[in-house]
């Protein structure tokens, strides 16, 4: 099996201009993004249909129990008040779930190596995972919205605000998911992240109530919860009413996203828990 007729000429492999010029490996980013999209789409019952069903069950139960008894904003029935909060909560939870579950799964199974061996830079890696998380969050939100407006009349006062909060909210939670996915070494740690951080923060953010209905101490505590600003600002887009100025909320959410992005990029650049 020896090779006496070996050419000993350098092998000619096609160049990749974007990589050789030091530019963005846009095809690599697109491929990783597409793979991440397909990953959740292949299990759409679990990743899209299930959260839509959960949100609709919340809507059904809470509107049945409290629908006639509570009015949070003047002239807005409780059921209608509830929908934007439920949409945003699902959007945020699923954006987080997409990047975090993909990373922990590929780390545990070892298939993360297929990405780590490539010339994708830490920024390209971040962009692809972030974009997929945003799309998953928005897809779940859009499905809940479409099903909800089939039954309930939902106004839209500031569509730009809805889109802005949906974008920055999914981006923030997608980034947080990347951090969790990098940090966690096993599914147990990821479940702790989800159940002890994401769930309490989203449930205590004003999805089911306005923080003005809380005692003043808990109102103050709510201001330390980033989910509160995302829910409140997103709801403002529908009703034109909010607990605090939507511009302040947007600034806080956008700033949190940029700070968390810098932290994530720093982790990725250093190879923390990915490259020894």
């Amino acid at each position: 099996m020896s090779n006496p007729e070996k050419t000993l000429q350098p092998v000619l492999t096609p160049p990749v201009k974007t990589i050789e010029s030091g530019g963005l490996n846009y095809r690599g980013v697109w491929t990783l993004f597409k793979k991440e999209l397909l990953r959740f789409w292949r299990v759409a019952f679990q990743t899209v249909a299930a959260p839509v069903m959960t949100a609709l069950l919340y809507l059904l139960i809470f509107s049945h129990v409290l629908g006639e008894k509570v009015e949070v904003y003047p002239g807005v029935p409780y059921t209608v008040f509830l929908i934007p909060g439920l949409i945003m909560m699902s959007v945020l939870q699923n954006a987080f779930a997409n990047s975090s579950s993909s990373l922990i799964q590929s780390k545990v199974m070892g298939s993360i190596i297929f990405v780590l061996l490539t010339p994708l830079s830490y920024l390209e890696f971040f962009l692809a995972f972030l974009a997929a998380a945003i799309i998953r969050g928005l897809a779940v939100g859009a499905c809940i919205y479409l099903v909800a407006i089939f039954f309930i009349d939902l106004p839209i006062v500031h569509p730009f605000m809805i889109l802005a909060f949906a974008f920055f909210g999914t981006a923030l939670l997608g980034t947080f998911g990347i951090i969790a996915g990098i940090w966690a070494d096993k599914f147990d740690q990821m479940a702790a992240f989800q159940n002890f951080i994401i769930m309490p923060l989203s449930f205590l953010s004003g999805v089911f109530y306005s923080i003005h209905s809380l005692p003043s101490f808990w109102q103050k505590v709510s201001h330390f919860n980033p989910f509160f600003y995302m829910i409140d600002g997103f709801r403002y887009g529908f009703f034109g009413v909010s607990d605090i100025s939507p511009w302040i909320s947007l600034a806080i959410v956008a700033a949190s996203f940029f700070v968390l992005s810098l932290l994530t990029l720093k982790m990725l650049k250093s190879g923390y828990k990915l490259r020894g």
């Binding site: 000993l8 990749v16 990589i19 690599g28 297929f114 061996l117 010339p119």
Partner: protein
Amino acid sequence: MIPAIKIEQVHKHFGALHALKGVDLTVEQGEFFALLGPNGAGKSTLINLLAGLIRPTSGHLSIMGHDVVSDYRLARLALGVVPQELVFDPFFNVREMLRFQAGYFGRGKENDAWVDEVIEALGLTDKAHTNMRRLSGGMKRRALIAQALAHKPPVIVLDEPTAGVDVELRQIMWEFVNRLNREGHTIILTTHYLEEAEVLCSRIAMMKGGEIVALDSTANLLNRLPSKNLRLKLGAATLPASLAGRLRTQDSDFYTLALDDVGQIEQVLAELRTAGIAIEDMQLLEADLEDVFIDLVGRK
């Protein structure tokens, strides 16, 4: 010509463990090179450093002239690694995985013909649309090899590619890898099957305890040891003390003695006659890479 791989004074520490102790190694383009050593010798650490999966504590590694740390994008573009573990992504089929892998390296539809060629050469055509988790172990191994080749890298590292695979796959794989090597691809192989390295590789490095203890052409390594081994079955008798210096290995009642040349057979037979020991069976064997390995590294 720029070396395919250049490793200069590379040290790697994992906490208190000094896994690599100043390794220097150059592999020229077009070589079929073997990296041998017992478990824990540092082979996988060296490969992981080349692949950028871990970073050196000190020293430099380059692939086709590109530093694996400072110029990692071009270094990785030039490298394809077949990992030792059977890892796979359970969401996709074989062809999808190969296209994704090529895509990460910036290759698009123009590369599809090469992907199809790799699929066919590795006998994966029937399984191209089968989900990775439904493949047998051997087929998963083929898919792993195909993934490493999907972007057509000039330098290919095969980390224990034949561990636990059947004869058919070995033949298919070596046929294809040999073809790639003939076409100019540089191949670096780690294996526990020393006969594979002996037959395939033109040069060999042997590692032990994080250091390279031998680096030479396969022919020169084989010439390092006495050229012959005399294997004797002596029944219940034990080897006379006068022949103990020649003893290479003992396996039950078989003794393997090292000879510098065939002329020394008569001397061994005379010693046995003097000791009154009858020979039940006798074989004259060529020294092989395993003998060199045992001599240098101590055990297989």
